[in-house]
Each structure stands twice: as C-alpha cells, then as structure tokens.
Amino acid sequence: MEELLQDVVNVLVSIVEACGAAVIIIGAVWAFARFVWVGLRRRDTSAFVPVRLTLGRFLALGLEFQLASDVLRTAVAPSFRELGQLAAVAAIRTVLNYFLGKEIAEERRQVAEEAEGARAGSGSTSAHGPRDPA
C-alpha cells in the first residue's frame, strides 16, 4: 500500500514539476524574443518594463507549480537528507516567490505613476492649449 502511494505521488510530482518547468520555459523564451524585438525595434527603456512584468508573472506561476510539487513530496520523504534538500529548495522558491511578488507590485506601481504623470501632462497641455480668440 505504501509503495503504491509512493508511486502515485512520484508520478504526480513529475507531472506538476513538468507543468512548472513548461511555464518557466515558455515565459523565458517568450520574454527573450520580446527583449530582442524591443531592443532592435523600439530601443525605449519603458518598452522593457511590460516584458519584465510578464516574465515575472510567468516565473511566479512556475514557482507556484514547483511549490505544489514540494508539498506533494512531503507526503513521501523517507530520509533526513532528502527532507533537508526539500526544505532548502522550498525555502529558496518561497523567498523568490515573495520577492517576485514585491518586484511585480513595485514595477506595476511605477508604470501606473508614469501613466498618471503622462495623463496629467497631456491634461495640463490641453487646459493651456489653444483658446477661443473671442
């Protein structure tokens, strides 16, 4: 019975980890293509921010999958060595997920501030714009 549980959990761990890896790979390849495109065509600093935000979201999603596989692994972790490795990997992933969330929030705030500034600038321009001569 225990061996069956171990086999089932191992298969589930493999599937969940594969999903996480796929998400990270897709996000990284997409971001690399966008970085190259933005670097060659637009050469604008602000154009890089949305790409970095999207890559951060992909990485956070991939990390969620990987943390889920860590949780599954705790169901069967026979030795203290494996438990130690699992704890280290889970700690790294959790810390990274936390900081990624903070970075995404910070960059999103900056983008919103820039957009608001641009809107205020265009609003003041239109307020002082051409007036009726009468």
């Binding site: 493999s14 990284a28 390849v29 690399f32 970085f35 670097g39 060659l40 890089f48 490795q85 790294i92």
Partner: protein, 114 residues
Amino acid sequence: MTGVLLTLPGLMAQLLSGAALLAGVLTLAATRKPALALSVFLDLLTAAGLLRLVGDPSWQAIATAAVIVGLRHLIALGLRIGARNWTTSTQAPGRHGSRPGVVIDRLLRPAWRR
C-alpha cells in the same frame, strides 16, 4: 518521463543562461543603460536557476540558485542606492543641466571635496 524531466530542464537552463547574456548585451547596446541591461540579464538568469531546481537537485545546484537569488537582490539594492545618489547629486545645483563636462567635473571633484 523522469529522465526527460531531469535532462530537458538542465539543457534549457544552459540555453537560457546564454540567452540571458545575449539579451543583456543587446539591451545595453540598444538603451545604453547598464542597470536595465543587468536587470534583464538577471531576470533570465533567475529563470535558468529555477529550471536547475527541477527534478532532484544536488546541493551544489541548490546553493547556486540561492546565490543567484541573493546576488540579484544585492545588486538591485546597490543599483537603486547608486541611482538615487547620482540623481540627487546631479540634480541638486540644476544650473548647468547634465552636460558631459559638468558630469565629469562632479565625478572628479564631488561637493564634499570643494
């Protein structure tokens, strides 16, 4: 399936490390902003580090990923502090703008040495 899960992420992690270097250099050439180029480089390097943790990672892979994550935040913090100092020191007088001569003069003779 486990074999593929062990080999493919490792291969992709190596490819992503190369792509990170390429994207960083391209960003630096396109924008001439080292901070942004370093951020792009470290973003993709983080993705590569995460892929190395897939499967059954060794202690060395775990330590490498931890060092990359720590280094990334240390560098980002240093760049933020440096950018803040640089912005305040170049904007404070505000009379000469940011002409190259003024910038070089400020680098060689900062305000506290005058």
